[in-house]
């Protein structure tokens, strides 16, 4: 699993490291790819100085499936299900980004009803994704119970998704140009019930964690990322906002129906793990707010714009980004006028956010590495694509 290099006591002579009577060298520890807390198949090579991290290197690619390459050999519609498999815990968001990008490329706009339902489902998906993050993050830090609570609530969301489109995880909920399915009959009621419940449940999580001394001790001051660093490394999403940078594409470059809803962008102050926790918790509340507004005003009308059966976008290129639960999810699509995209490049938030890992982990203990991986909220499917 790991190699050690040990230095005998009082070795004389050569070597640049200062020789002390009881000196010892650094230890290289491979965390992952098979490790319960690397959330999939991330491998982190840790250079340890005692229990302290002196440096780290993330080795990725264990889950590489060539998603971008596959896109070049599929029609635009055929490729849509593939994007669900990137951030597989937030498939709806992935789909939204892709559909909107292709729509933009084709110059089509989804009907208003479709837009609101899309927003509603995407926000539900955001909550689900954040719940999964909270569950695993808390478990990594040693709190068992939030896991089950979070899964309980996530289950409700998945049920709504299932009722909507028949799938729970890789939903393929949207179609290019709008929706395939209209909202089912009791969807508004279901969502409202969920929202009411969830606001109470979120208090439960905070009771368990927010004021807990151990939780505070494990998260405050751990993995600090300053706003400047975050911007410099292109970090986005809650990680960026927790560092005090107010940047949310939903507000900055509204897409779907976000311009119709009121919501706040929570930001943090210190950029530590605790702030990221607080930011995500508040984001879930804001998502509930959006959902509640959305169910009130789903406009009547068609759900699918006029798009042909064979999509042939004009020659050109487009970049469209949305605020996925984990950060900026961007699609850059080049069309050569055929039925297949010439090139699809995806900017996955997890991949970019993972860059900040080394910066955040340096000087912390091994146990913090687990907390930091958790707080980055990465999904390896998306990192490796």
């Amino acid at each position: 699993m790991a190699e050690t290099t040990q230095n005998g006591a009082g070795q004389a002579g050569s070597g640049s490291a200062p020789h002390t009577l009881l000196g010892a060298d650094e230890l290289i520890l491979n965390m992952g790819p098979q490790h319960p807390s690397t959330h999939g198949v991330l491998r982190v090579k840790l250079k340890l100085d005692g229990e302290r991290v002196a440096g780290s290197e993330c080795v990725i690619g264990y889950l590489h499936r060539g998603v971008e390459k596959i896109a070049e050999h599929r029609s635009y519609q055929q490729f849509a299900p593939y994007v669900d498999r990137m951030d597989y815990v937030a498939a709806v968001s992935n789909g939204l980004g892709y559909c909107e990008a292709v729509e933009k490329l084709m110059g089509v706009e989804a009907p208003p009803r479709a837009k609101v339902i899309r927003t509603l489902l995407t926000e539900l998906q955001r909550i689900a994704s954040h719940l999964l993050w909270l569950a695993t993050h808390a478990l990594d830090i040693g709190a068992l119970t939030p896991l089950f609570y979070c899964f309980r609530e996530r289950e409700e969301i998945l049920k709504i998704l299932e009722k909507y489109c028949g799938a729970r995880l890789t939903t393929h909920a949207f179609r290019i140009g709008g929706l395939q399915y209209d909202a089912y009959d009791t969807m508004e009621k279901d969502v409202e019930r969920f929202c009411a419940d969830f606001l109470k449940r979120i208090v439960e999580y905070e009771d368990l964690l927010t004021g807990n001394r151990i939780w505070l001790g494990r998260t405050k001051g751990v993995g600090v990322l300053s706003g400047e660093d975050a911007i410099a490394m292109g970090v986005t999403g809650p990680v960026l906002r927790a560092s005090g940078v107010q940047w949310d594409i939903r507000k900055a470059m509204p897409y779907a129906a976000y311009d119709q809803f009121e919501f706040d962008i929570p930001i943090g102050k210190n950029g530590d793990t605790f702030d990221r926790y607080v930011v995500r918790m508040e984001e879930m509340r804001q998502s509930v707010r959006i959902c509640r507004q959305a169910i009130g005003k789903i406009p009547a009308g068609p759900i699918l714009a006029k798009v042909g059966k064979v999509l042939k976008p004009p020659v050109g290129e487009v970049y469209h980004a949305i605020e996925a639960p984990k950060g900026e999810l961007g699609y850059y699509i080049v069309s050569d006028g055929t039925v297949q995209p010439y090139r699809v490049r995806i900017r996955p938030p997890s991949f970019v956010n993972l860059q900040a890992f080394d910066k955040m982990a340096r000087g912390h203990l091994v146990a913090d590495v687990v907390a930091i991986i958790g707080t980055l909220d990465i999904v390896l499917g998306e990192v490796d694509r």
Binding site: A9, G10, G13, H19, L21
Partner: protein
């Protein structure tokens, strides 16, 4: 239940050293200035030296007779205190030059001094053992205090390993003595039953202590340890633990009913091989620190001659000799410590060539100390050796006296060689003079003063040391 006040006064120097060391450690996180620590340590050790007077004013046993104050303990406590004071005075500039942390250094010296004081005044073996350990463990650490230097690491490790071995002997000796006498109080150790057990115990005790005073055949560690340790620490090693250990040895062989008799023969042998081991070893050395290290082995041999004599003059001679020796050795090592320069790189014989031209006063002082170690009249060393001769002759140990003389002649060779190098040989390369800081100069002046003063007027000390109630109760 609580012990009366004077019992505390009797052990005041020990308490001050322990308290001072702890205080230094406590202040370490808060004080940043080196000078502050040096001043504190100086004040502390000075207080300890003064408090010896307090202990002298209240002679008697303390703490259920485990420890106490009598003229001998007062003498040795004073000696140890003075050595600690001078070492601290001389090491401030050294520590700064080698950029070593001052607080822990001084604290360790304090604890070492406390241990030596315990050793000098303990009247019971377990107490003595703890004193011995305190001084030894502090010494091991001090020896390795220059952590970057592999030599220091070697020195500390060697000292530690061999020292713990010796300690084990000592402790085993105590156990056997306790088993055969039923007590650990030195003065009450009479065997319950005749047999070899108590003798074996005493022999083991002697082995342990011989190691500490660097007597042959347990001297092998000395040159390496002395060479690798920071030189002020070497100065402390050569003067302090030796004096304190000899104090305990004296107490054992004067007070312990068991120890009377045939032990003189053992000391005879020990003295002879120690003298030869030290002096012959020194002849081959070119490193000044190692020369001085071998010379301290030889001096342990001279002192053992007085033990072999085992009479009252001998006891007085031991005391006086240790005083003279401490002054000379401290002075000599202080010179070496300073002239060694950064990283102690310049301590070969050649580096001292032409010192007389560069730094005439330093050369003169160094020569004075060397002459005292050699035992030339007008220096304290002369009278030290004189009284040892006298003691040996008084016990009709003619052979031993002759061997002592032979050794002095051998010793003359390397001491004088060093002086000749300083005065007559041209330096190989131009080297700049290293002016002495005030503190080191003070140390040298005090040592020189003591060397000359006791070389002229030995009578006070001799009169004091001839007190029949030296180890009183």
């Amino acid at each position: 239940m609580f012990p009366p006040r004077e019992e505390f006064l009797r052990v005041l120097p020990i308490l001050i050293f322990c308290g001072g060391g702890t205080l230094l450690m406590l202040l370490q996180p808060f004080l940043r200035s080196r000078t502050a620590f040096s001043l504190l340590a100086l004040a502390g050790s000075l207080t300890a030296v003064v408090s010896v007077g307090c202990s002298a004013a209240h002679p008697g046993a303390a703490f259920y007779g485990l420890i106490g104050s009598d003229p001998a303990s007062v003498f040795f406590e004073f000696l140890v205190g003075a050595v600690a004071f001078l070492v601290i005075l001389g090491s401030a500039s050294y520590l700064e030059r080698e950029s070593l942390a001052p607080a822990e250094f001084y604290a360790l010296i304090f604890f070492a001094a406390a241990g030596m004081c315990v050793l000098a005044s303990a009247r019971e073996m377990l107490t003595a053992f703890i004193g011995l350990e305190m001084s030894s463990i502090s010494s091991y650490i001090l020896a390795g205090y220059r952590r970057e230097s592999p030599k220091a690491a070697e020195s500390a490790l060697k000292y530690f390993l061999l020292g713990s071995f010796a300690t084990a002997f000592f402790l085993y000796g105590i156990a056997l003595l306790y088993g055969s006498t039923g007590t650990t109080v030195i003065a009450q150790m009479t065997p319950l039953a005749p047999g070899l057990l108590p003798k074996l115990g005493l022999a083991l005790l002697l082995i342990g202590l011989s190691f500490k005073v660097a007597a042959a055949p347990f001297q092998l560690w000395t040159p390496d340890v002395y060479e690798g340790a920071p030189t002020p620490v070497t100065a402390l090693f050569s003067a302090g633990p030796k004096a304190a250990t000899f104090a305990l040895l004296l107490r054992i062989f004067v007070e312990m009913p068991l120890a009377a008799g045939e032990w003189t023969r053992i000391f005879w042998i020990l003295a002879v091989i120690t003298m030869f081991a030290g002096n012959l070893g020194a002849l081959l050395q070119t490193n000044v620190k190692r020369i001085l290290a071998y010379s301290s082995i030889a001096h342990a041999g001279y002192i053992l001659v007085a033990f072999a004599a085992s009479n009252e003059i001998g006891v007085a001679a031991v005391l006086f000799y240790l005083l003279a020796y401490a002054a000379a050795k401290l002075g000599a090592f202080s010179v070496v410590a300073h002239l060694g320069g950064a990283g102690e790189k310049r301590i070969e014989l050649d580096d001292f060539a032409g010192l007389a031209q560069r730094q005439p006063i330093a050369a003169a002082a160094f020569s004075l100390f060397l002459l005292s170690l050699l035992g030339i009249p007008v220096t304290a060393g002369f009278f030290g050796k004189f009284y040892i001769f006298k003691a040996a002759l008084a016990s009709h140990l003619i052979g031993l006296a002759v061997l002592l003389g032979v050794n002095s002649v051998i010793a003359a060779y390397y001491y004088l060689r060093l002086i000749i190098v300083m005065y007559m040989r041209e330096p190989k390369e131009e080297t700049a003079a290293l002016p002495f800081p005030g503190a080191v100069t003070t140390v040298l002046a005090l040592c020189a003063l003591a060397t000359v003063y006791f070389g002229l007027f030995p009578n006070h000390i001799i009169a004091f040391a001839s007190n029949p109630r030296l180890f009183g109760h």
